[in-house]
């Protein structure tokens, strides 16, 4: 498994106008080192699939302010006021999906499915324009699968083959994103030898991962800090 020396080389495959998935529920489980590098990379027109677009001035929030993001697909934009402001000014497109739909659509994209029917959202504004189907007397709406060119995810431990395990609620969207992109780059806290992770506990088998990088930015109770400072 390719282990990149630095975030810059890990992100060489990310280009303007691509669709990228970025893991995390807020900053928890987000690939903070890779996001940090994205803020330095000359790039624009991105479609970003992520539960949130960071927080105000933090994580993906910086990319929002740098106007690198053309469109955001997520479930909760309320927690970053800058996203709402940019939206009101017409500077960013937003596609709001129920959180379960967001997660399920990624899973479908990674599993070779075209889409699925969910009960969630039926009869609401978020169902407008979506195909309805009645199955066994229950009304569902169609949701298409989601895929991306690149997924940037965060895991806890990786082995040298690229098998991944995740830490507590930092797991969230990362395992699905690992399945649903052409190129998957995992930012990990620790790399152990193959065989050190129990075969029963591996969450993301190595066949989903294309490259890895050791995390430099970590989330602490005092905010995001560089690894060295810990």
């Amino acid at each position: 498994m390719k282990v990149y020396e630095n975030a810059k080389s890990a992100l060489e495959s990310v280009k303007s106008n691509q669709t990228i998935m970025v893991g995390g529920f807020g900053l928890v489980g987000a690939p903070l080192t890779l996001i940090d590098e994205l803020t330095r990379k000359e790039i624009d027109g991105l479609t970003v699939i992520s539960n949130n677009l960071g927080e105000k001035g933090k994580g993906l929030g910086i990319l929002v302010n740098q106007k690198k993001i053309k469109k955001g697909i997520g479930s909760y934009f309320t927690s970053n006021r800058d996203v709402g402001d940019a939206y009101q000014k017409g500077e960013i497109e937003l596609q709001l999906l129920p959180q379960g739909t967001l997660a399920e659509s990624m899973r479908a994209g990674g599993a070779g499915l075209g889409g699925y029917y969910t009960k969630t959202g039926v009869g609401t504004d978020l169902a407008k324009g979506k195909e309805e189907k009645v199955i066994d007397g229950i009304t569902y709406i169609f949701e298409p699968a989601l895929r991306a060119n690149v997924a940037l995810i965060r895991a806890w431990k990786a082995d040298t083959l690229g098998n991944l395990v995740f830490y507590k609620t930092a797991r969230n969207f990362n395992p699905m994103m690992a399945t649903a992109a052409d190129i998957v780059i995992a930012e990990v806290d620790e790399i152990v030898e193959a065989g050190e992770l129990s075969p029963e506990e591996i969450v993301t088998p190595h066949l989903f991962v294309d490259g890895m990088i050791k995390a430099q930015k970590i989330l602490t109770k005092d905010g995001v800090i560089d690894h060295e400072q810990k």
Binding site: V28, T78, L96, Q99
Partner: protein
């Protein structure tokens, strides 16, 4: 009452609804407070971001162990972690018994609005729509009126609704309502509150169905 006291009063009343072996999902805000009034070990708390067995933080805060409101939590004995797709599979699939949610508005048929305010920066649906279609029972906990004193329980929601499914119960600092066949029934008054006060502060029509205690 202080804002804090109001919230605790509501949360404490909601806690009375949770008994025996059940799985409960707590939304952001007042719902989060419900957990601390539960002593029954058979009640398990589920959080949409991937944890069954939420408990209070014990000792050191772990920034990577949070609830749906991104606040630090602890993990109960027998807790389990899972990804977001599996977590919402549990919710939509009917495996969560009770969801306790906050609202921006509720109406007299039990519909709620809690994810968007047109023209404002409130654009976050999170897990609300999933919980409404999936949870066996939905309890709303909310202050009875908004900051500017207007009733949050309306004849009809003016904000976009969260689901076509009616909630089962609404608990405020003034009263407890049940929704039966798309009708609001006031079944209980909070201590010191009169039915007249409830009528005055409620835009919605409701049936008086107070239990004799």
């Amino acid at each position: 009452m202080s804002k804090n006291e109001v919230q605790e009063l509501i949360a404490k009343r909601a806690a009375q609804e949770l008994k025996g072996r059940c799985v409960v999902n707590l939304g952001i805000g007042i719902p989060t407070l419900v957990a601390k009034f539960i002593e029954d070990e058979n009640v398990s708390f589920h959080t949409e971001n991937g944890l069954l067995g939420v408990s209070d933080v014990e000792g050191v805060i772990d920034p990577n162990l949070v609830n749906a409101g991104k606040l630090p939590v602890g993990e109960a004995v027998g807790a389990s972690f899972f990804n977001s797709a599996d977590s919402f599979g549990m919710i939509r699939g009917g495996h969560v018994d009770i969801a306790i949610l906050g609202v921006l508005q509720a109406d007299q048929t039990g519909l709620i609005a809690n994810w968007a305010v047109p023209g404002k920066n409130i654009m976050g649906v999170g897990g609300a729509m999933d919980l409404l279609v999936g949870a066996k029972k939905v309890i709303v906990t909310t202050t009875h009126t908004s900051k500017d004193g207007k009733s949050k329980i309306l004849k009809e929601c003016t904000y976009p609704i969260t689901s076509t499914r009616s909630v089962d119960m609404i608990i405020t600092e003034l009263a407890v309502f049940e929704v039966v066949e798309k009708q609001l029934r006031c079944i209980e008054l909070m201590p010191g509150v009169t039915i007249e006060e409830v009528r005055e502060k409620t835009e919605a029509d409701f049936i008086e169905d107070l239990l004799v205690v």
